[in-house]
Symmetry: C2
Subunit: 394 residues, 2 copies
């Protein structure tokens, strides 16, 4: 076999998602892109804020030397300082640049944290439904995912999480606001999770870490707060990116921050900086590090996503779809009226509506609708959503 | 232990290099940066070409939508097309965009290729001295390095390479022009290596791949040619970056290209695209992909590096240093007059001259001098080089 066995298996496994993706491309070619309603990807449709554009132009015109040179693997000192200041402003803790590693997006940040922490065979508990790319990230470092269902409203099921702890548990990985459900975990849930992890850390005589993936932190609605994991638990990391709130997913820029109160901080940060290097990232892209340092308090206009959420929720509710109204992110995760979510998603595809089966997120009986799309797409897809629901509803 | 055992061990192992690095920083603080002669890092001192600057300004002012959005994991189609056209221009083969994956630098490209190919325990043969970061890249994917010494002139030792082939050999990884030696492998050596690999591939009933890491391809002197691995062997990959020839190491932009004649190309490219995604890179940074597409035929002024090489070689030769005059890259790898290269490098450090012991590249009894520095640094360091040589020479 020319490629590694694992890689070949992964390619085969992902091929039905790819087939759906290709079917979407074929439909766009056949019916015209404007007649295909693509809710399949979390690719933000809003342009980056004007301040980002201004920053790019200023930075491109900066005559200083060495702007594109190597730097410390943790990132540009000025950018790390800016991130630390921003986090200090928004948290109870005081952050220093030494608590920050700039990364190639949140994907890079997660790989850096996981490689730093995981010995082969160690387990990471993940509430489901979840972004299944995490499986690859764990496998990259020979970690083992332990998947624990959330409650029907997608909030954390603390007794189930407790049940999943073993002597191999190294970390719990959460994602709030959540992809694919849009759920924002409450302060009480995080506090309880923190207490649970404290108790088991004492029992095991070593910390179980809490890693929070938060690229959607700024994308929340109706003024709902996104509570801090740093407050809930000292042995915690936040990984994030500017992909969603600044609409920069192609630029691969994000960071990992450790709780300033984490134990063994020196060793952990040393490990993360080493891993950022040896994973081949080396450092986060220099130009975008300089850009985002100026944009930490900016974001796209979140109210536009809120209007899309409301338009979609109202429309689907009228058609008889059942769902938890999301507090954040730009995904809706409705129940499919039949158990077989793949069949339902295929029926929608025949109406030129592209969504992703919940099974793809370990949330069968649901589908994910990414509503980071034009308002017109939502509007024009609604009759199709209605027709398919009418056909399947008991 | 808070961090993975392997990560802790790596941190401890690299700590003497770090101590030297920190000693350098301390010396700069004490004596003033202008009085410390830092030849320790391959951080190009030349600024990127003016065309790069112009491209940045134009791209920053581009009002088109979706410039920072997600894209195919292989990279922007226009950039892949530009790279394919460039490679077609400079090789006997005809390249298509489907032969190219844009990556987060050559480090990213190497990790993508290695993860695609390696099953746990499979071996990669590497001629030494070499860039030991490769060890980490192999270990990331549970590959095993098999190190084979080059000849005294740093050219490939074909019988020794042949000796190292086992039934676990998956690939040979070469780097030409070479870091740390500056050696450029000859057409004949590559042809012989290709024939060797063809013979053993037939024997094993599966290809042994040849991976060539070529970030220094444009940095060559006296018109010396850098022969193509694509011509030497069909089952081959080139990984490279724009870090050195455009002086952009902080931007993390490069690519992997497969030989258009490689077997199982579809599966290999599919694997590489998957690996670019699941390693957390996702795609190479969008903005720099657009920039480098316009700069494929550009480079910094290589004649400036040639002058530095000559100044350094002439000076050191007069002091009695022995070395192979490098044909490319910006490193000189002289013999140390005593066996203990670390001791000699420490003696140079007392003269405020910072170099790296050859042992750090599996080339003991040598030291690496990175001459991508100001001419003045070379000039002013020469008396120190002389004093230390005089002290140690038998």
């Amino acid at each position: 076999m020319p490629v590694a066995k694992k890689i070949q298996a992964s390619m085969e496994k992902s091929s039905w998602i790819r087939r759906m993706f290709e079917e979407g491309i074929a439909r766009k070619a056949k019916f015209g892109a404007e007649n295909v309603f693509d809710f399949s990807l979390g690719n933000p449709n809003l342009e980056p804020p004007l301040n980002f554009k201004r920053a790019l132009i200023e930075l491109a015109n900066d005559p200083s030397p060495s702007l594109h040179a190597y730097m410390p693997n943790a990132g540009l000192p000025a950018t790390r300082k800016a991130v630390a200041d921003y986090l200090t402003e928004n948290n109870r803790q005081t952050f220093s640049p030494d608590d920050i590693v700039m990364t190639v997006g949140a994907g890079g940040a997660l790989n850096v944290v996981l490689k730093t922490l995981l010995n082969p065979g160690e387990e990471v508990i993940i509430p489901s439904p979840y972004f299944v790319e995490y499986n690859f990230y764990l496998d990259n470092h020979q970690g083992v995912p332990k998947i624990v269902k959330t409650k029907p409203d997608f909030s954390l099921d603390l007794p189930a999480l407790e049940n999943a702890v073993t002597d191999k548990t190294k970390a719990v990985l959460i994602n709030s606001p959540n992809n694919p459900t849009g759920k924002v975990y409450s302060k009480e849930d995080l506090r309880d999770l923190g207490e649970l992890l404290s108790a088991y850390s004492r029992k095991l005589g070593r910390p179980i870490y809490l890693v929070s993936d938060e690229p959607y932190r700024k994308i929340v609605y109706d003024g709902i707060p996104v509570p801090s994991v740093f407050d809930a638990y000292p042995e915690s990391f936040v990984v994030t990116s500017f992909s969603k709130d600044l609409s920069l997913p192609g630029e691969r820029i994000g960071y990992a921050a450790v709780n300033p109160e984490i134990s063994d901080k020196g060793m952990i940060m040393g490990g993360m900086i080493l891993c950022n290097r040896v994973l081949g990232y080396v450092n986060a892209p220099a130009f975008m590090q300089r850009a985002v340092a100026r944009l930490l308090r900016d974001s796209v206009d979140i109210s536009l996503y809120q209007m899309k959420r409301d338009m979609l929720c109202n429309g689907l509710s009228e058609c008889g779809y059942e769902f938890e109204k999301p507090g954040g992110a730009f995904y809706l995760f409705p129940k499919t009226p039949i158990e077989d979510d793949v069949a339902f998603v295929q029926a929608l595809q025949e109406e030129n509506i592209l969504t992703v089966p919940g099974s793809g997120f370990m949330g069968p009986g649901h589908m994910r609708i990414a509503y980071c799309v034009d308002d017109r797409t939502i509007e024009k897809a609604m009759p199709g959503f209605e027709r398919v629901m009418r056909r399947y509803k008991k």
